[in-house]
Symmetry: C2
Subunit: 333 residues, 2 copies
């Protein structure tokens, strides 16, 4: 452990392989060609959106096992979660793999939390292979958090579009294409923002807090990274993040990328402030980012998925929407 | 790591202190005198049940810090979760402590998951002190999973009563009253039970599975323990657990105790099959069980909180209710 809230791994665990499965809209986006699978039917032939989301998870696990050429029995634990109440996307997605499960919830920061815990597990010698994964689905998230699609509500321009898909990574002891060299675990940050249609503004303060503490704990600066990649701040949240970090003396604008901003072409795809959802950061990580790490176009990156902590109950009872974000430092090898 | 899904800690992390805060009904139960705080108002003076649940968490953290005589800044991480969608009990309960958070969800198995991960974190040298905690609230759970109280639905005899309260434990490096010597992490087990009013039957197969694997992995038997303590199987689930383990050659009936069965006096308190909820196992652990460990009436126990994996959406869409359970082996010292 170093500094206030970080861990620098002495024997960094490796990323063995990643897999990304997305829906048709994500496949048509600017990063479409980097995803392993583009499903043409967002319902996956199921009767409900929730069942479809579970199938995305099931397929992502299957894909990552095949890509890494390892049997499911060699995976000792799964760290997984999703946006749906009581993690039903995960429960019915990974159930039949029969792998011991740690269910986690960090809203859209879930992939950061999953990778952090998987890395700790492997480095401590408690597992040789661990899967870190998450999912989200546009339609199941709209029903869970906002309005059923049938209601036809107009979306404000600060709103984001929940990504349909799932990303899964195998973290392990044996040499892979990259390694997790450190993590900085976020705390809940509440700026009192109450607009659930402006998630970027809710999450940006948490991203700024964890990034500031990462730079302090590791005694490093933005220029040490090829990319600093946030999850789904979108266009609105990105601007706020830059401003908050500027106030603390850090300028990340030259190396920053936001998965939510890159996922869709807003002018063509009507997605407003960008992509969001657990799967946004997770599928861009397993798609585009891993591609760049494998060809060493990125050598050292910070991956910071960001989550907005709310439910319809907390929101309707007048609570604000606090944020949380988790940093994962990844280096190619 | 040993066996299929267990970890035996070489340098077992200690339990420094625990705190339990419960509502009035729990205080009137047979274990009432062991809880640190019995709140007489289950609403905690708040406007909503969810806000009340958050206050139970806040108070449990405060209490455990005071009992352990440690400042909040010395706690490096919190592992916490609750039953409410998107963990809003936790978010608004622990937010102002500003401690880095790993949000977890294992339904009523959450305390087992929290203790497991806290132990891994401390043993790996990644933290000196970690809080593991959870909460539940009768009224917020009824609204979340079943019917609002105002509806006045009759409860079948297989139904359990969600415990109102919160339990928090500090796991650490320095010597405490007991230590976590091993864990066995559960996987999702689905026997196809679809009756959400009979959670015991949904969870018993998962408890049997993880217990069987624990006995196998550690090459031990029920007689090695002073107590084998399940979370909230209740009277119905307990019978099923005994039968499933008997089929595999293990008889735990002589040393078994279920927190849900002990929590209330069913004849006097109208609680039917027993107590349930994340707080059931957590508050009995921090109350009665820690009391027994401290006076060495229990020297070696297995603590196995059990969770039922469902949401109103999964249930209403016709899905079964699978279960999960996590074993934590605790020894007094």
């Amino acid at each position: 452990m170093i500094g206030k809230q970080s861990i620098q791994f002495e024997e960094p665990p490796y990323l063995l392989e990643g897999a990304s499965v997305v829906g048709p809209k994500e496949g048509e986006g600017p990063l479409g060609k980097y995803f392993d699978v583009v499903e043409q039917d967002p319902m996956m032939g199921q009767d409900s959106w929730e069942q479809a989301e579970s199938l995305f998870q099931k397929e992502a696990v299957q894909k990552v096992l095949v890509k890494a050429k390892v049997p499911k029995d060699s995976v000792r634990y799964i760290f997984a979660g999703d946006l749906l109440g009581q993690l039903i996307g995960t429960t019915f997605g990974i159930m039949e793999y029969e792998i011991p499960l740690f269910g986690i919830y960090g809203a859209c920061s879930t992939m950061g939390e999953a990778l952090s815990l998987a890395a700790i597990m492997v480095e401590a010698g408690n597992a040789d292979r661990v899967i870190a994964m998450t999912s989200s689905h546009f339609a199941s998230a709209e029903r869970q958090f906002r309005f059923p699609l049938e209601y036809g509500k107009q979306r404000p321009f600060s709103a984001t579009w929940t990504v349909t898909g799932s990303g899964a990574v195998i973290v392990g002891k044996e040499r892979g294409f990259a390694k997790i060299t450190g993590i900085t675990t976020g705390r809940i940050v509440d700026f009192g923002v109450k607009d659930a249609q402006n998630m970027g503004a809710c999450m940006a303060p948490a991203a700024a807090d964890v990034l500031y503490n990462h730079f302090q704990d590791f005694q490093c600066s933005p220029s040490d990274y090829d990319k600093i990649i946030t999850g789904d701040l979108g266009l609105v949240g990105k601007t706020i993040l830059f401003e908050l970090l500027n106030q603390k003396g850090y300028d990340i604008s030259k190396v920053h990328m936001d998965c939510g901003v890159e996922m869709f072409d807003a002018s063509r795809q009507d997605t407003h402030a960008g992509g969001s959802g657990c799967a946004c950061a997770a599928t861009v990580l397993c798609g585009y980012i891993f591609h760049q790490l494998k060809k060493q176009a990125f050598r050292k990156i910070l991956f910071i998925p960001t989550g907005a902590l709310l439910s319809t109950i907390s929101f309707n009872e007048g609570n604000p929407v606090p944020g949380i974000a988790h940093c994962v430092q990844i280096e190619s090898c």
